[in-house]
């Protein structure tokens, strides 16, 4: 693989992994062969990827199939009011496209994803399926201890599957790598915040999505290269609206959807599409790494729709974001039928109403194939803010 990589630009390699990450997972299988390794596929939003990686298991986010496969088997199993990412991940399993994965992981992000764990178990009887319960009582120390126990349960599963014994040092190394990855992603985000014209959103997205599937060292190396490339770009800034997007943290809008938004006259300064890839931030390298990972989840000060934290104020948070990042308008994108996204919308919207800040709420599905309505809505939004 490294021979091929040498001839390709970093962006082309990201594209390859990006393309692979929907339905194929061929590069995942290749990686397993070359490294005598394993793979763990996890349903969004957040997963402690450091743990499987320390077992030589490649952690891969299953963000749905973006309308690239028919969903007929999934339609046979789920009602029409079930979101599309659940359908497409199920379909991937039913079509045996997840065979590269030795373990599939789910967690308590919503009722649909939660029940999906059992449905997958029924249909993929031999697959190792693990369900992690992330605590919601995050303002007591009990939550940290509990999450460490959950992580130990995950470790039991991984020890069984891989035959490798848990090793604290290896986990610490893994955390180091992923800390670096998150730092690099945040650097990309900073560029988008300061000079959004340098990296179109769609390109940024491809890079980070590739990072949700490729081995972390490879990603880190390539991003460093890519950052140098970006630095030398000469692009004329356009007069566009700086917007913040919330709600698209799990099911992903098709790339064309996001492109349509930028084309309609906006720069997406911040969004939640791949938030699980960087949300946890910097994990402490001192002390018991499991405790550090658990703490990073429980004590994380930035809100995540699928984590209830009794003492975090989402409304203050969004107002601060708008101020600090010089946001001019907010878009709320809810995947069709996604209740967590729809509830958080009301919380945020209320905060924005209070400060008379413009926002717009739209629905999408990963299979959306028409964009004219979206274009009209976003254009109107831009027109209503930019022109008098």
């Amino acid at each position: 693989m490294s021979r091929v990589s040498a001839q390709l630009s970093s962006l082309e390699i990201f594209r390859q992994w990006y393309e692979d990450s929907f339905t194929e997972f061929k590069l995942v299988s290749e990686w397993k062969d070359v490294n005598a390794g394993y793979a763990l596929g996890y349903f969004p939003v957040y997963f402690p990827v450091e743990i499987p990686y320390s077992f030589n298991a490649l952690p891969v986010a299953l963000y749905g199939a973006e309308g690239r496969i028919n969903l007929d088997i999934a339609i046979a199993h789920t009602q029409s009011f079930v979101c599309t990412i659940c359908k497409s991940v199920f379909q991937l399993g039913a079509e045996d496209r997840l065979k590269a994965f030795d373990v599939l992981a789910f967690s308590n992000i919503c009722d649909v994803a939660r029940n999906l764990s059992g449905i997958m178990k029924r249909n993929l009887v031999d697959k190792e399926i693990v369900y992690l319960h992330f605590p919601i009582h995050n303002d007591t120390p009990l939550a940290i201890k509990y999450l460490v126990d959950e992580y130990k349960r995950l470790i039991d599963v991984l020890e069984n599957v891989t035959g490798i014994k848990y090793d604290e040092e290896r986990l610490r190394d893994s955390i180091k790598q992923f800390n670096e990855k998150r730092r690099l992603v945040k650097r990309l985000m900073k560029i988008r915040r300061e000079k959004p014209w340098l990296i179109p959103f769609t390109e940024f997205y491809v890079v980070v999505k590739a990072g949700s599937v490729m081995p972390v060292e490879m990603f880190n190396k390539l991003v460093s290269k890519y950052l140098r490339e970006v630095g030398s770009r000469r692009v004329r800034p356009a007069d566009r609206l700086r917007i913040l997007i919330k709600g698209n943290f799990c099911e992903q809008p098709p790339l064309m959807y996001m492109k349509t938004i930028e084309d309609a006259g906006a720069y997406i300064i911040e969004d939640e599409s791949l938030i699980g890839q960087y949300w946890i931030g910097e994990v402490d390298l001192d002390g018991d790494p499991l405790v550090s990972l658990a703490k990073a989840y429980v004590e994380n000060p930035s809100p995540l729709t699928v984590r209830f934290h009794p003492s975090i104020d989402k409304q203050e948070y969004i107002k601060r974001e708008i101020r600090d990042k010089k946001i001019e308008g907010a878009l709320f994108l809810s995947p069709k039928f996604c209740e967590p996204s729809l509830y958080d919308y009301v919380i945020y919207k209320k905060a924005l109403d209070d400060i008379h800040f413009p926002y717009l709420h739209l629905e999408y599905e990963e299979t959306t194939s028409s964009f004219e309505h979206l274009r009209t809505m976003v254009e109107t939004f831009v027109e209503s803010i930019m022109f008098d």
Binding site: G67, N70, L71, D72, I73, A74, I75, A76, Q79, S80, F81, E365, T367, T368, S369, S370, F371, E372, H373
Partner: protein, 267 residues
């Protein structure tokens, strides 16, 4: 010469159909009319039509079974049976090796598994969301200014069907117009529409299990594009005939004979 006759009347949302049978389950004739707003009148009319077509007098018809959404409105009927049971029986009558029935009509899509006797062993229907029903095709036809009957034949000439994933009937027109604006040809869009509806329909069929032979009934079974899309995706033949749209009425007539037999036994 038959000793007596029975009839089945299927009052659907758009068409009302009738089937007339003799006492030995031989199909004597069929008739069809628009349902319109007065179902009892339509049922009466279609019954008269089949009688005059076959020359059978009303008094020789000993039992009438009503089916379809308007079955409770058929005032001269002796009893009612749901169209699910009727379609199963009718499909089995026309194609005795039928094990799976797909009925696409104006209001619902049904997938039915039947046993070797034509009895329902399992069935499912589309749930509350109307996405993926034949209604989407109507909207597409409207957007393109075509008659419903033109849609199937045109779609058959497609070489490179357009991918259409949203099949909410409410947005059929704008979906199709947008694809047109992207420069896709009419035949490619139309076949794309049929494929995407077929895809959802197969999801429904999978719930009961796809066991050959499959018989395609109901109004949409007349659409060649839909049949081709189903066959392409299923990779198997589906049974159709000019009579499949009368399946409900035929099944109802068969039930009429059955009921009559039981009644005679009791007497």
């Amino acid at each position: 010469m038959a000793r007596y006759y029975v009839a089945g009347i299927d009052a659907g949302s758009t068409y009302t159909k009738a089937a007339l049978m003799d006492d030995e389950n031989n199909l004597i004739g069929t008739a069809i009319t628009m349902t319109g707003v007065r179902i009892n009148q339509a049922a009466d009319k279609v019954f008269e039509m089949v009688l005059s077509k076959t020359g059978v007098s009303r008094s020789d018809v000993k039992f009438v079974v009503g089916t379809g959404y308007g079955r409770f409105k058929i005032t001269f009927g002796d009893t009612q049976v749901t169209e699910i049971s009727c379609h199963a029986k009718g499909a089995h009558y026309l194609f005795p090796k039928t094990r799976t029935v797909l009925d696409m009509g104006g209001q619902d899509t049904k997938a039915i598994r039947v046993n070797e006797k034509g009895e329902v062993i399992d069935f499912v229907m589309n749930d509350k969301c109307a996405a993926g029903t034949g209604r989407f095709i109507e909207g597409a036809a409207k957007a393109l200014g075509l008659e419903l009957s033109q849609v199937g034949p045109i779609s058959l000439t497609s070489k490179n069907p357009t991918k259409i994933s949203s099949t909410c009937a409410v947005f059929a027109e704008s979906e199709v117009l947008e694809q047109l604006a992207w420069g896709h040809s009419i035949e490619d869009i139309l076949y794309g529409v049929h494929l995407s509806i077929a895809n959802r329909t197969i999801g429904l069929l999978r719930r009961v299990g796809i066991v050959p032979e499959i018989t395609f009934t109901g109004g949409v079974s007349l659409n060649d594009g839909m049949a081709k899309a189903l066959e392409d995706l299923l990779k198997m033949k589906v049974n159709r005939s000019p009579l499949t749209m009368y399946c409900g009425a035929i099944g109802a007539a068969l039930f009429a004979n059955e009921r009559l037999m039981i009644k005679q036994k009791v007497v």
